[in-house]
């Protein structure tokens, strides 16, 4: 996570930065528990996706694909919102 830090001469003027660059910053290591998704129960309603504060639910062509563990902070909203109990929260194995 340690980035090479630019000198004042190298940095762009003002504190301008590239939009969307936070994708380089992984927040997955904040978790103490993580969502375990059961595809067999999933109805691809995407309610988990619209409820995730971290955009950590990966959807492809309108269907649930995966949970992106690089960013999931383990809040458990997706598990709570799932109408089919297709997501359960389990302790993170460190």
């Amino acid at each position: 996570m340690e980035e090479k830090k630019a000198t004042w001469k190298e940095l762009p003027e003002a504190d301008v930065l590239e939009g969307g660059s936070s994708l380089q910053f992984k927040t997955g290591n904040w978790r103490s528990s993580k969502p375990l998704h059961h595809m067999d129960k999933c109805i691809h309603c995407l309610l988990c996706w619209i409820a995730c504060p971290d955009g950590a639910i990966v959807v492809k062509e309108g269907r649930f694909l995966a949970i992106n563990e690089d960013y999931c902070k383990g809040c458990g909203i997706c598990a709570h919102e799932c109408p089919k109990k297709a997501i359960e929260m389990i302790l993170e194995n460190k």
Partner: protein, 307 residues
Amino acid sequence: MPTLKELSSRPERFVSGHRLCPGCGAGIVARQVMLAINKPVVVGCATGCLEVSSTIFPYSAWKTPWVHSAFENAAATISGAVAAYQSLKKQGRISQEAVFVAFGGDGGTYDIGLQSLSGAAERGHRMLYICYDNQAYMNTGIQRSSATPLGAHTTTSPAGRVLPGKLQHSKDLPAIMVAHGIPYVATAVPGRWNDLVTKVDKAVNCGGFAFMDILSPCRLGWPHEPALTMEITRLAVETCIWPLYEVVEGKYRLTYRPKEKKPVTEWLKLQRRFSHLFKPENASLLEEFQKSIDRGWEQLLKKCESA
């Protein structure tokens, strides 16, 4: 109204890697708002949780042009951006279509930013101002605001031996914004995403200044189980603590009516900031809380009927 499938095909413009708390309501609000706007958009943020957590140099979670200048002036800053856009457009120096959105917490909106908000609304800049309302100054550590509900414990309205938390009711900011005669005012909650998304779309297309007050739970400040963030906003709607309505050109309309109005205690009991209200000595305060919600709901229904 777009389906979730349709929304999921849109590009995310509030992306992962921000540092809001796990389960933060503001992250959900920001994502849903940005997904709802199906146009190129320029965003401004007031100083606050959303701003500091989403743009810690050199990482920004905003995949759209974004600016922050200070705390009390998101509306004024974006009003300047809108003026620039109109000027350059008129001169033919840009061809890009764009809409403009400002985000502020309840501190930056109800309190320190009220003047700048009022000025921008009165001048009628074509922009959407979103208050992500977590009902206290959460970024500085949970101090009371004029959006904090009656009886809530905050660090500057603490429940103590003689005082039962905040002594005042929250103010009706949407009504204040309606009084500006702006074309669109609405409330929303992330737990009813379809209502929220529909309203944001209407707001950015209303042709003038639009204001939305969106309830945004704070798992640290309320505090509540983080998994309940969406649920707790739906419960705020079901108890009529946070009714869902819109005001189009001054006309009130309920956008969702609870089938059965739940008692406020259903909402209060999930949050520790209200735990002292359940002590016998605070029974009358609890009663007053319910009464004020009932009163507000009746008044809102009347406004909707007369429209």
